[in-house]
């Protein structure tokens, strides 16, 4: 049987081999790292892709890497070691910073980059991403001890995201 550790190791390899410049686990699984387990069915991963010549962002490099490892693609997800992973190219300055400031945590001896709680909240509250479920998650995360309240306020103000 596959293991979650192998999936995290594969993400490290993705960065180590230059397929992506950097990555950070985001979404509900990132929240699990900072607070309590919640139901989620995939692993969202924000990525910085190497500079591309074409005007439209392409995940071709990731799909080639997946094919070389025998990882099947299911709709917009790559099944990495049994875990459906959605790779999300950074879409704005907030996501850029979320990747840059991600914290490297230890999962059973494997380093994994995880978006910090303040950035997760800001990403959840972005107008384009805002749903009732995400607002609830942002509210729960805002109360978590891992969240730096001062940093959160400053971040929401700087990116003009309302709570």
């Amino acid at each position: 049987m596959n293991s979650f550790i192998d999936a995290l190791r594969a993400l490290g390899e993705l960065k180590g081999t230059g397929v992506v410049e950097d990555y950070a686990v985001a979404g509900a699984m990132a929240l699990v790292f900072w607070t309590e387990p919640i139901p989620t069915y995939d692993l969202d991963v924000l990525v910085f892709l190497p500079e591309q010549e074409r005007p439209i962002t392409s995940l071709e490099g990731i799909y080639s890497w997946a094919a070389a490892h025998g990882y099947p693609v299911e709709s917009e997800h790559v099944l990495v070691e049994g875990v459906p992973v959605q790779f999300l190219p950074s879409h704005n300055e907030l996501a850029d910073e979320a990747i840059e400031t991600a914290q490297t945590l230890d999962y059973e001896g494997v380093p994994v980059r995880v978006v910090r709680p303040e950035y997760l909240i800001a990403l959840y509250l972005e107008p384009a991403a805002r749903t009732m479920k995400r607002r609830e998650r942002a509210a729960a995360l805002a109360e978590a001890p891992a969240t730096n309240q001062q940093a959160l306020r400053a971040l929401l103000e700087r990116f003009k995201v309302s709570s």
Partner: protein, 55 residues
């Protein structure tokens, strides 16, 4: 009511303190519970299945 709120907060806090591996095991268990319920409401997407991984 206050006591109920306090108990719930304590439960959330204790779950948040669980070791990471235990939390991932809990997520996989939640998938096994929730996905069949979700399937009663709508067809599942191709990637919506319990992860076949060890935590």
């Amino acid at each position: 009511m206050e006591r109920l709120h306090r108990s719930k907060m304590a439960l959330h806090a204790s779950r948040a303190r669980m070791p990471l591996r235990q939390k991932v095991a809990a997520v996989i268990e939640l998938q096994r519970v929730y996905l069949p319920l979700l399937e009663r409401h709508r067809p599942l997407l191709p990637w919506e299945h319990p992860w076949s991984v060890e935590p």
